[in-house]
């Protein structure tokens, strides 16, 4: 019996800041910055939003699209690196906000931008084992970047929820392959407000080694070739990395382009690759194969292959906002509003 994605739900906060506005504040040449990162603007959470609220919105949309009783979801995982609490789970808030039963496996996961996709692996495992009927994973972040530092040009906010099950599968899981090593490319110490990164070290030994390692490993182990895939979605820390990874794997641009969202919303960290995946699911046709490869610093990647089923057409007609809808629905803010919304102005308690 098929196991795979029953439904998906994405949420992008409505606010955007243009790259040129950030560059104006910090004295950078906006044209050069856009050229380096291929990020025109990024999403910004509202003042009353955080990784919890974003996760709830994405998860509600996934449940609405699936049309299932939320009490049938037996596992819920939240992958994030923007927890409002150091100790107190997002996943338990999801249980009550979504109206799940209390008999549910729930935990928050941390592996930089990969945690949400690791939740997907765990949920699939529980469904395959027959332990739960449906499992859910949510990748959610209000990602951090030190003001004036280059990460600030991409660190953004968003969330994607995926419901996994056997009944009503819209994208069947065919294969998954992991590639993990201790690679110190990006980290945030306990109590540090912003992450640090190893500059150029984030590319070759981190992003490319693990993305390519997972994708090649999967293709070699299971006998896939690039021409098998209708769509390929990689983690998107900027607009250049996924395009280069595709080129290294001889994957043509037209297969990667439909899943690129970073240019319009920046890097939503745990929702980055999953947002591209959601965007592809919004338009995919039965029979399409999708290669999905998220990446998390520290470092690791999971490569997944899904085959889209006939059910996808039903899921696409539910009236749930598409990623494309949300990319268009925006309000621009200036840098001062951005600092206020991101709670980066120091106030008395």
């Amino acid at each position: 019996m098929k196991v795979g994605i029953v439904s998906w739900g994405a949420y992008i906060p409505k606010y955007r800041i243009r790259t040129e506005e950030v560059a104006r504040i910090w004295g950078d040449d906006p044209l050069r910055i856009v050229d380096v990162y291929l990020v025109d603007e990024k999403s910004v959470e509202g003042i009353d939003e955080d990784a919890v609220t974003i996760a709830v919105e994405a998860a509600r949309r996934a449940i609405r699209r699936a049309g299932i009783d939320p009490k049938k979801i037996g596992a819920v995982y939240a992958g994030t690196e923007s927890k409002p609490y150091a100790v107190k789970p997002i996943s338990s808030i999801l249980v009550d906000a979504l109206g799940l039963s209390n008999n549910v496996f729930a935990v928050d996961m941390e592996f930089a931008c990969k945690a949400g996709s690791e939740g997907l692996v765990a949920a699939i495992g529980l469904v395959k084992a027959g332990q739960v009927e449906y499992g859910m994973t949510v990748g959610t972040d209000t990602s951090q970047g030190e003001p004036g530092e280059h990460l600030e040009y991409s660190a953004s906010s968003g969330g994607v929820a995926l419901i996994v099950g056997r009944d009503g599968v819209a994208a069947e899981l065919e294969a998954v392959y992991s590639y993990v090593s201790d690679t110190p490319d990006f980290w945030r110490r306990e109590g540090s407000p912003y992450p640090m990164h190893g500059e150029g070290f984030t590319g070759e030994p981190a992003y490319f080694r693990h993305i390519i390692g997972a994708a090649k490993g999967l293709m070699e182990k299971y006998g896939y070739k690039p021409s098998d895939f209708a769509y390929v979605v990689f983690h998107q820390p900027n607009g250049r990395f996924p395009v280069r990874a595709a080129s290294m794997l001889n994957i043509p641009m037209e297969k990667i382009k439909p899943g690129i969202v970073v240019t319009h919303i920046g890097n939503t960290y745990n929702a980055s690759a999953l947002m591209g995946f959601a965007k592809v699911l919004d338009v995919a046709k039965p029979g399409d194969k999708i290669l999905l490869v998220p990446f998390g610093s520290g470092a690791g990647s999971n490569a997944f292959v899904f085959t889209v089923t006939d059910v996808v057409q039903e899921r696409q007609k539910t009236g749930v906002p598409t990623v494309e809808d949300m990319l268009r629905d925006k309000i621009y803010v200036d840098y001062a509003q951005y600092l206020k919304m991101r709670k980066m102005i120091k106030l008395f308690d």
């Binding site: 509202g46 009353d48 939003e49 609220t53 808030i93 009550d96 206020k340």
Partner: protein, 133 residues
Amino acid sequence: MKHESVPIYWRNIPQYYRLVAKRCKKCGAVHFPPVVRCRCGSKELEDLELPKEGKLVEFTVLHQVGTDFLKQKPLVVGLVELSNGVRVVGQIVDAQVEKLAPGAKVEVVFRRVVADGKHGLVMYGYKFRPVGL
């Protein structure tokens, strides 16, 4: 800053998170916020989760706000008629006020409401957001 107690917040989670109202089993009246006795006198009440979409009946823009919301001015507060006819007052977020008007379609969203300082509890709850504006 003194906020609502943790036990009160915890007890109200179904109401705050999912708009869980009380419906009278005797006369069918729906109460939100929930009550323990219906206006008909009956104490036989059951939970009813309210719909998550509705339309704006009226709204106002507040420039004088309570201490918890001083840093979020101006605050838009509206009366919303949900799709089953129940009316609920709540904050309207992500709104461009100049585009807002009675009759506007709104949906329920889940947001931070108050945070008890830097170290205390973050309290979440429902708010409303315009759809298609």
